[in-house]
Symmetry: C2
Subunit: 201 residues, 2 copies
């Protein structure tokens, strides 16, 4: 005896989602079954709508419902700065800090030879086009502090320096997290934090 | 700055699912965005299909694509036994043991006064109808070993005994789990296991 076909199909799809194992997939499918038809219909509609409505901003690549995203089309943003991030999520993370008024560029990944991801698979071509087409004074590399994120940052930095030595390239500072304990900070972080020490004013 | 409307809607719906917090909901929505349109469409279709196709078996209440579920309509099953479970999941759990050939009855919940769930909210009326309409020799109560499961079992048992004292009513045995350690078994379980000790053959 097994579940009816339509339940099995739904469980299978749920289990394809990241972080959802077979037990959770079963639980989610039963949640749908126990819930109203309206809920399932709304959910279904949102799934298809999101794929139809969301495109990549023609300038920065970020997810957007318009051809050019609200950040790139905002006349009040400082168009001379571009902050490079791995995914659209990080755009929002940085926006929430309320300290940056420049533009973004979303790579949609990082260079990772082990996973077969070379620079050509990232949203890099449009970045270099942007650099040649407009006046950029600073590139802020905000990839994640992982080996892949670092490699990607270095790759981009070298590429830009080769063609345009005027642009200032910066990277988010490594250091001890606020509220952390020196004893419990890993040595790589602590070393970077020590070497990059700042003058006290 | 926020996510576009259609992404926000999808994140909100994902976060309504059990066990999915706001961070996971975001991750799942981005998984849909990064995946093919076909995946989103299949997922959407399965969500609506399952709600259209799946109904409750007219006899036992279990989820089924047919009016009467495959178990109730199987002529080879022993129609004199009914195993009472809380949800459709447990039907499958018991079926997988390959030791029971009777029928089931799915309650879709347990009596839980704190949650405002009385016996009238469970699939009980049809159970009592089954008992009066057909020859039942044994009722196996397989609700979960929780206070609510026990209360529900006792409630059903009393109801049946009041109207028909011929039916044998049993409950799954409480005891030490196979492979467990007596030292680490809670005293309630150990007490029940001791009192229900079985003769060694």
């Amino acid at each position: 005896m097994e579940y009816p076909e339509s339940i099995k199909d739904l469980i299978k799809t749920f289990s394809k989602l990241p972080g959802i194992g077979p037990k959770s997939a079963e639980k989610l499918a039963f949640f749908i079954l126990n819930n109203s038809s309206e809920f399932a219909e709304t959910f279904a509609k949102q799934l298809t709508t999101v794929k139809i409505k969301i495109k990549n901003c023609k300038i920065c690549g970020n997810y957007s419902e318009t051809d050019v995203c609200p950040i790139c089309s905002n006349p009040n943003r400082d168009k001379s700065k571009i902050c490079i991030v791995e995914t659209p999520k990080e755009v929002l993370t940085i926006e929430r800090l309320n300290i940056y008024n420049g533009l973004y560029h979303v790579l949609f990944g990082v260079i990772s030879p082990l996973d077969g991801i070379g620079p050509e698979k990232l949203n890099l071509k449009s970045l270099f086009n942007r650099l040649s087409e407009s006046e950029i004074s600073e590139i802020i590399i905000a990839t994640n502090p992982t080996p892949e994120g670092d490699t990607t940052g270095t790759y981009i930095s070298k590429k830009i320096k080769n063609s345009n030595s005027e642009i200032k390239i910066t990277r988010l500072a490594y250091g001890i997290p606020v509220g952390a304990n020196l004893d419990y900070t890993d040595i790589v972080t602590l070393t970077k934090s020590f070497l990059n020490r700042n003058p006290l004013e």
